[in-house]
Symmetry: C2
Subunit: 209 residues, 2 copies
DNA sequence: ACTTTTGCACTGACCAGTCAGTTCAAAATG
DNA sequence: CATTTTGAACTGACTGGTCAGTGCAAAAGT
């Protein structure tokens, strides 16, 4: 008995099933929305019986909620890593923002469905997972805000900038540009998109040539 | 739309009920999503019998589709008007972009639910109204792209900018900043938000003081 | 007169969640 | 060994409820 008091690493069968369910749910919900996606569909795409879904998750919304948390934590870690790497390499705060834009693009490139689904749910009110969503969102945006604030302190950015609003605007810029990229010109390279956004960030838009 | 005052043309009784149905549907769908919103709820909030919904619209999705089209057409008209007004007043293309940012903010300020619902649906695939959505979206973005292109021609913007991508990024900037504004700091004034975005647009972020 | 709205009962499809039963590999037993 | 036992993981038919859409006779506008 006690077959799997296993090493918490997550190499259990159960963990593998959960992973398959996440992957199935993410694409289906991104395509159709939460309510329009049935548990039967998720189970079928994951190659698993419906009961298994309920063995692994308390309900359809709990499955979704854990999916959201998992995904945003991935993004936050990636942004933080980009900021810290730039710091270590002695880059400016603009360099850090630029590195974070790239990290954002890389994330969206890798998980377009997740991003799409996240955007669709972020500003909804009256939903079960609203608070969860809020918390993880704030973690991610806080990384950007942190860099902006340090930049102001160092005198690299104007003292007049509105940190939270500027952070939102930057996130929006990357989010929408990337989603449009993936939806309408998926053949373009990441570098290409990145350089266009860099240019915009550094105000090299106006000013001829 | 949501808190419209305008009689907007048709003075028939029918037109008034349709308007009430639009208003009810917009807020409910923004809160809960399309599938989670029932026709009974919409009818109840509009203060109308369920049969009336089906007397006025062929189906739930048709109601939604017409709502989408109607809303985006409003926005497009508003953007176009802002650009043309700047043109007449002899403003630069940067002034035109700035005026359009303001027009966008005014729109979102007036119709937050619509905006929210629109964002939630825009990048979804496999849905009935996808093509409708695509067409109207392109009309709106095309206005921004037009101004950018003219700015390049006049030498006001760099020839190296990527017009469609820059337009997307600008739209995203305004969209996300405004939705965050409405969600988390609704007490702030429009002018305040507008000036923060202007600053970002004109690259007055980096460069101290 | 004619258009529009109401109220309400009804149908048939669809779906979240349940539960009694199955599988199987590891642990206990002899 | 060989066997029995255990329990976590999984299965899929079934249930109870929900909801889009229908039908229609009577009432209310205009």
């Amino acid at each position: 008995m006690e077959s799997s008091s296993a090493p918490s690493g997550g190499s259990t069968r159960r963990e593998a099933t959960r992973q398959k369910l996440y992957e199935a749910a993410v694409t289906l919900i991104a395509e159709q929305g939460f309510s329009a996606t049935t548990v039967d569909e998720i189970a079928e795409r994951a190659g698993v019986a419906k009961g298994t879904v309920y063995y692994n998750f308390a309900s359809k919304s709990v499955l979704f909620e854990e999916l959201l948390r998992h995904g945003v934590e991935l993004l936050t870690a990636s942004l933080r890593e980009a900021a810290e790497r730039t710091e270590r390499d002695g880059g400016t705060k603009v360099d850090a923002l630029d590195a974070m834009i790239r990290a954002g693009l890389v994330f969206i490139d890798r998980y377009p469905s997740f991003t799409q689904l996240y955007v669709a749910e972020l500003w909804r009110t009256n939903r079960a997972w609203q608070s969860t969503l809020m918390v993880v969102r704030q973690q991610a945006v806080a990384v950007v805000e942190g860099v902006l604030r340090e930049g102001v302190k160092k005198g690299e950015f104007s003292e007049e900038i509105d940190v939270p609003l500027t952070a939102s605007a930057l996130v929006g810029m990357v989010l929408v540009a990337a989603l449009d990229w993936k939806s309408f010109q998926p053949e373009r390279s990441l570098d290409d998109v990145h350089s266009a956004l860099s240019r915009l960030l550094q105000g090299r838009v106006s000013g001829g040539r």
